[in-house]
């Protein structure tokens, strides 16, 4: 059927569409290339639907405002790139410990520091996992097309609301600055998850109550519940604690509420892996070059496949092992000096040959470069 609703949409604006679909009504940010169009899109669209857009004085304040909006009951988001993502880390850590749902879009560019504002990179893959100090478990999703960006941003909000945690959408310059013809999802096409709200009488409310699944029902400020947000390690009431047994319970909660449901959070695209002897494992924009390379290699009779990570963190240990169990060789193309490849080395049996294919000169790996690497390892 011909879809007459197609629109040529910019990747960064796809993130806005996905976020609004998921219920985002508060955006605070500070524009920075190559993520600026996310802010522009939100500034245009949010006022039309009763939302709020604020351009803050910097990225530190932006994520602060996002956390504030979320604890006040709104679905909130910010977007940034490069140095802006570094500046946000402290308050992203605050969102982890206060278990505040929010979404941070990181349209990656080259670094370190100001680096390459207009050039593509995947060099924040580890920062997205380990950016803030301390122990916590991060959820990070990575789209590879404009269409993906809509659905992965919706998924990011759903995961964020379900698990009461910040979620990072790891985009990159190519996805953000690429226009593709896509069909926007219709109302009801995707599930939209909202945070579990407190229903107990106010005197029984514990903002960080221990529950079977680790997620505590939330009350917004102003709803009549006494609720606390503190960056200090706290007990179920939200009161600061120094008691070892309470500290451990809190940190276990931050990890287990996510890791106990890891198989529901991880999402992979698996192409031509049934009889594959060599596997590519990739994420983000470079996956598209890999897809073409795999199709071309298959047409030349090479048994090769692709596992694409839509969820980068938590890392899909078991699923990856299952899909790649018949592969003696794995090639990991990344637009960085080799980051996720270490996870694949950690997960796969020690006799698996694992090759890192790196590019970090501001350009994307081409299908031919990927095929050259394939030929080299064959």
């Amino acid at each position: 059927m011909v879809d007459t609703q197609r629109t040529l949409l910019l990747g960064n604006l796809a993130a806005v569409e996905g976020a609004i679909y998921a219920g985002m009504r508060f955006y605070a940010g500070y524009p920075i290339t190559p993520s600026t169009e996310v802010a522009e899109g939100c500034s245009r669209e949010l006022p039309k639907i009763g939302g709020r857009f604020i351009q803050m004085e910097d990225e530190i304040a932006s994520i602060g405002a996002v956390v504030g909006a979320s604890v006040s009951g709104m679905k909130a988001m910010t977007a940034t790139s490069g140095p802006g993502f570094s500046l946000m880390q402290e308050n992203i850590g605050y969102a982890y410990i206060t278990e505040t749902p929010c979404v941070v879009i990181n349209v990656q560019r080259g670094g370190p520091s100001t680096g390459l504002p207009t050039k593509v990179s995947q060099s924040d893959t580890m920062q997205a996992r380990w950016g803030p100090h301390g122990d916590y478990t991060a959820i990070v999703v990575a789209p590879s097309t404009v269409g993906d960006t809509v659905t992965e941003t919706i998924r990011a909000f759903n995961l964020s609301e379900r698990f009461r945690t910040p979620v990072v959408v790891l985009m990159d310059e190519i996805i953000g600055h690429q226009r593709e013809l896509i069909s926007l999802p219709k109302p009801g096409e995707h599930q939209v998850i909202n945070r579990v709200k407190a229903t107990v009488p106010p005197e029984e409310f514990q903002p960080f109550r221990l529950t079977a699944n680790g997620v505590s029902p939330m009350a917004a400020y102003g709803e009549g519940y006494r609720t606390i947000s503190t960056g200090l390690t706290h007990d179920p009431m939200g009161f600061t604690t120094n008691k070892p047994e309470e500290i451990k319970v809190k940190l276990d909660k931050l990890r287990n509420k996510i890791m106990d449901f890891r198989s529901e959070i991880t999402k992979l695209r698996v192409e031509m892996m049934d009889d594959a002897e060599i596997a590519f494992v990739s994420y983000g924009s470079v996956s598209r070059a890999v897809l073409l390379a795999v199709a071309l290699a298959r047409s030349a009779g090479v048994k090769v496949g692709l596992v694409q990570l839509y969820t980068v963190w938590p890392f899909p240990d078991n699923k990856l092992r299952d899909y790649c169990q018949k592969c003696q060789k794995i090639i990991v193309p990344e637009l960085n000096m080799g980051q996720i490849v270490h996870e694949i080395r950690r997960v796969m049996p020690p006799d698996t040959e694992i090759h890192s294919l790196q590019r970090y000169d501001g350009e994307i790996l081409t299908p031919m470069q990927i095929l050259e690497k394939l030929e080299e390892v064959m």
Binding site: R179, E180, L181, A297, E375
Partner: protein, 199 residues
Amino acid sequence: MEHKLLDKIEIPHDRFEIRLSGSGGQGMILGSVILAEAIGVDYSKNVVQTQSYGPEARGGASKADVVVSTNEIYYPKAMQLDMLLCMTQESMDRYYADLHKDGVLIVDSGLVKNIPTENYYALPFTKIAREEAGHVMVANVVALGAIAAFTGIVSKEDLIDAVLKRAPRGTEEKNRTAVEIGYAEALKVKKDPTRRAED
């Protein structure tokens, strides 16, 4: 060196790849967006537009690719250009090597002097924009009109619709004229490729 895999592989020609190149400020990226939007009204086609530019607001190399295919477009960037527009000598020197042997080369004859082939179309887009369309800023739109005529990848009518959707209020007529002139001049050159409009 013998390539046991690479020698067997031929990149299928199931896509039409266009690159608009010049320097920052010449409107190459906007031009590519308009072109992609104009092509995209045909529902049988997939279109991907990408861009590459420097941190400067003006100056610096700027290029934008539009890939068109009836199949799913995996790799979003151009690999073997079917059409290359060069609006500066620098972009000519830098991107000519990416042009497919049967690809169409289009240059701004007022700005590009050294052309490493005899097989090209040339029109003074910038001069036409300044002297005939009313403003140097519409040089990219003049070039779009010429691209429609040279390649047939989009109809003039769809192109005008797409240009007018993006044109700031008050500039509609200038932009429409720019497409018309670019299209008409290109048709003249296309009928007689030996006839090259001089600066």
